[in-house]
């Protein structure tokens, strides 16, 4: 119990400091209030044109498609992460040493930072855009099931952190890891379902995507929000796909830990 209380105190302290630090740059977050709706307007016209004369495409109606884009944007504000960039910067500049000396795991520190950073995102990105999408664009933003949606978004939050952190760890081998980061971000942007719902991909690719972690960052929480999940012709009930998402998060966390321990064996530092 004491262990848990101590961990919560660390999360609270780090999250609060991160929140205050980034509050100084809150207009940085508020850029999303402009960018999110502008991208949504483009999507609105693209898909309205594409659906002209059609009621359904790949099992999705126009209203579902617009909800999908609205909700993936909003989920993106909650799960947004740059642990990979941060970690590779710390490694390249040698500043990681100051973290290696601290009595907490750096990934836990990164998680606490992310919580603080995303609480700021909640106030300055998520809530304003929620109102814009709901009241101006009239998008249906009521989830099919609040409980499963919240659990799925929390799991997507963790999944994004663990994946990005693992990519950031490659800096211990490459030093300059921007290339690897860009490969990963490219794959994630396409295969997470952020550009287009994954049911639009060829069937073979959909089957492959079932076994990759990307869908758990964006596509799964969005479909849990809509209330039905289908990929590669396989329909999975919401509780089961959320369960699979939880298993994927645990596996990714374990892989991240293995890579972390391996990278610590490579790490050398001089002069804290």
């Amino acid at each position: 119990m004491n262990f848990l209380v101590k961990k919560l105190k660390v999360i609270k302290a780090v999250a609060l400091v991160t929140y205050k630090e980034w509050s100084a740059y809150r207009t940085h977050s508020m850029v999303s209030i402009f960018v999110g709706p502008v991208y949504f307007i483009v999507q609105y016209y693209i898909w309205t044109a594409v659906y002209s004369g059609k009621t359904s495409l790949n099992g999705m109606e126009l209203s579902e498609m617009l909800t999908y884009f609205g909700i993936t944007t909003l989920i993106g504000y909650i799960t947004m992460d740059f642990a990979d960039w941060n970690l590779q910067m710390l490694v390249r500049t040698g500043k990681f040493l100051t973290f290696a000396l601290r009595p907490i795991h750096h990934r836990f520190f990164a998680l606490s930072q992310k919580i603080g950073h995303r609480i700021l995102g909640l106030f300055f990105e998520f809530i304003p855009c929620l109102f814009i999408f709901g009241f101006i664009f009239k998008i249906n933003l009521s989830p099919a099931n609040y409980g499963w949606t919240i659990i799925s978004v929390v799991l997507a939050f963790l999944m994004n952190l663990y994946l990005n952190y693992t990519i950031g760890l490659t800096a211990f081998w490459l030093v300059q890891a921007t290339g690897v980061r860009r490969v990963y971000l490219l794959l994630q942007s396409i295969f997470s379902g952020g550009l287009v719902p994954l049911v639009f991909f060829p069937k073979i690719l959909q089957k492959l995507l079932l076994f990759l972690p990307f869908q758990y960052v964006s596509y799964v929480p969005a479909m849990v929000f809509i209330g039905r999940y289908t990929l590669a012709g396989v329909s999975i009930p919401i509780p089961q796909i959320v369960g699979l998402q939880a298993i994927a998060v645990v596996v990714t966390a374990l892989i991240s830990e293995i890579v972390y321990r391996s990278s610590m064996k490579r790490f050398t530092g001089v002069g804290a």
């Binding site: 740059y25 940085h28 309205t48 002209s52 396409i190 550009l195 639009f200």
Partner: protein, 261 residues
């Protein structure tokens, strides 16, 4: 005078290549990623047409042509003047703009020349391949169409330059906001698609106010034989926009106050 500036520009390009070669693996990977991401750029369009849907009255290759032109224009802009934003932003944050200001050359020229970035070369080349594929699937193109395309394409590149300079000028006041490009990227997004899918108010905005339609749509329309009066009238706002960017940047330089870097 001109010779001096050409010599400086050539030296800057040499330095840019040498810098890229310091982290060769990263440079090659960056270019590879640019190339791959470029081939995936029209992914949404391919998936839409692959699903049996379409943009009304637009074939797949006609839409791909718009997106290929947009990619090439972005490639040119990224190589030659997109870096000016990051350089200006860095100088403002570090208070080191004086180092650029005391040099015996035009400050804007120096910032543009010193930020030539070859990691976007593959973006232009990839766009070129996509352009050739799309062009081979559309009807014959006359010399007049090619000339119209070149004029409109150059106008689109000018718009990209104007956007870069406006962003750089904004960074004087909106210090350290690395999300500035996202604002303009979101507006540029309109230029990737046929303009007739948008509401007339929006297409008017993207043609005459912030003329992002010139980056992809209008030059491609010229090759499709559909460049109408609107496309040519839109050239004027493109140059006004670019001159506005230059004027704004120079104005911000005049307002800049430093204490020795």
């Amino acid at each position: 005078m001109l010779k001096k500036y050409i010599e400086i520009y050539r030296e800057c390009i040499k330095i840019s290549i040498s810098t890229a070669m310091t982290y060769r693996f990263n440079f090659i990977l960056d270019n590879f990623i640019m190339l791959v991401s470029n081939t995936l750029f029209p992914l949404v369009t391919l998936l839409i047409y692959g699903s049996g849907a379409e943009f009304p009255n637009w074939s797949l290759y006609e839409v791909l042509l718009i997106q290929a032109v947009f990619t090439m224009s972005t490639g040119v802009a990224n190589i030659f003047f997109s870096g000016v934003l990051w350089a200006t932003m860095r100088h403002i944050i570090e208070g080191s703009l004086e180092i650029a200001l005391i040099k015996p050359v035009n400050c804007l020229f120096f910032l543009i020349a010193s930020t030539v970035e070859f990691s976007s070369l593959s973006l232009f080349l990839g766009g070129g391949v996509m352009f050739a594929i799309a062009l081979s699937h559309i009807g014959p193109v006359s010399i007049l169409m090619v000339l119209q395309f070149l004029v409109l394409f150059m106008s689109g590149v000018c718009v990209m330059m104007g956007i870069s300079l406006i962003m750089a000028a904004t960074s004087f006041k909106w210090v350290g906001n690395s999300r500035l490009p996202e604002i303009f990227d979101s507006i540029k997004y309109f230029g990737r698609y046929p303009q007739n899918i948008f509401h007339k108010t929006i297409s008017g905005f993207t043609s005459f106010i912030i003329p992002v339609a010139m980056i992809g749509y209008f030059p491609a329309a010229a090759l499709l034989g559909e460049a109408n009066g609107t496309a040519f009238i839109a050239i004027l706002p493109c140059f006004v926009f670019t001159m506005g960017g230059i004027f704004l940047f120079r104005h911000m330089i005049r307002l800049y106050e430093g204490v020795g870097g």
